[in-house]
């Protein structure tokens, strides 16, 4: 989950997010190097007593500072396109879950076998138990088997919402009347938090998403108990 004064991404919980973090590290390093170079050149220009009034042009440097940026851009574009196509790979999900956005809560439907559906409301600050996270916890979590390809179909029942879980590298708009597909594999067990990412009214900031990844047997036990409860 997010931490106070956090600067970087949350730790990756899916292979796609790992790739995105590596790409971001690579691109940010290029940005830092270029910025450091420019900052050096500016301070050098500003702090020298030398003046030279007679240089008009220079073919050599012009060629260098055209070719070099082109190469740098290619070095950014290649990994970027690689990840873009990787995210678009055809996957073969083991499980389909529907995430429906409402004002102001999410509901999850697991209907591959039985009709399991439940609402997921934020736990109000005054009802939190010690150790729980303010504005992030929900009464029911979206439980998912780990290391299993999962398809999530995101939609909305009223206005626009958006289903996002940063640790998984997932964000998908929830549009009424439309079924948007996203997929992920969660590499490790854990609890991953997200928040509604499209303005949807008064309580837009108070309809979080919690994904709980567990071993398959635990998932099966959880879904049986949820069906009994209903």
């Amino acid at each position: 989950m997010a931490h106070p004064s956090q600067l970087g991404f949350q730790d990756a919980a899916s292979p796609v997010m790992e790739e995105l973090i590596h790409f971001h590290d690579h691109t940010l390093m290029i940005v830092f190097l270029i910025s450091a170079l420019v900052l050096y050149v500016i301070t050098a220009m500003v702090s020298t007593k030398l003046t030279n009034k007679y240089i008009l042009d220079s073919q050599e440097i012009e060629i260098v500072w055209t070719i070099l940026p082109a190469i740098i851009l290619i070095m950014i574009a290649l990994p970027s396109l690689r990840i873009l196509y990787l995210m678009d790979e055809i996957n073969d999900p083991h499980l389909t879950i529907k995430a429906m956005g409402h004002q102001w809560y999410w509901s999850y439907e697991y209907t591959d076998y039985e009709d399991l559906g439940f609402d997921s409301y934020m736990i109000q600050t005054q009802d939190l138990t010690p150790g729980q996270f303010r504005l992030l916890e929900t009464d029911h979590r979206m439980v998912v088997p780990m290391e299993s390809p999962v398809r999530v179909l995101v939609s909305a029942e009223d206005v626009l919402h958006s289903w996002a879980v940063p640790a998984l590298g997932v964000k998908m708009d929830a549009v009424p009347g439309r079924l948007n597909q996203t997929a992920f594999i969660i590499s490790r067990p854990g609890i991953y938090y997200g928040q509604c990412s499209e303005i949807c009214g008064a309580n837009h900031s108070f309809m979080p998403i919690v994904v709980e990844a567990v071993p398959l047997e635990h998932f099966e036990a959880w879904s049986s108990s949820m069906l009994e409860e209903a």
Binding site: I90, N91, D92, P93, H94, L95, T96, K98, M100, E109, T111, D112, D115, G117, R151, L153, S155, E157, G177, R178, L179, N180, Q181, T182
Partner: protein, 87 residues
């Protein structure tokens, strides 16, 4: 031969598989098409007096993909005779 294939496919059903007709992000039509296909399949096979087991596949797929509220709305529309699709 065909009947055993359907039975095997239905027994091993995990979730709606990848459908090349709907390869992209927008799966709205995938859900609606399977809902239509289930009802068309049922209508045709019951008219012929044949076994409707093959239609089960479409039912499993639309149940996996379509939001429960959409299914309920369409079922109500079918009963009322206001369903917008051609069955």
């Amino acid at each position: 031969m065909m009947a055993e294939d359907i039975q095997a496919k239905l027994k091993n059903y995990k979730t709606a598989p990848f459908d090349a007709r709907f390869p992209n992000q927008n799966q709205t039509r995938n859900c609606f098409q399977n809902y239509l296909d289930f009802h068309r399949c049922t209508k045709v096979l019951t008219a012929k007096g044949a076994d409707t087991t093959p239609c089960e596949w479409f039912r499993r797929v639309y149940k996996s993909l379509c939001p429960i509220s959409w299914i309920n709305k369409w079922n109500d529309q079918l009963e009322e005779g206001t369903f917008p699709g051609k069955i």
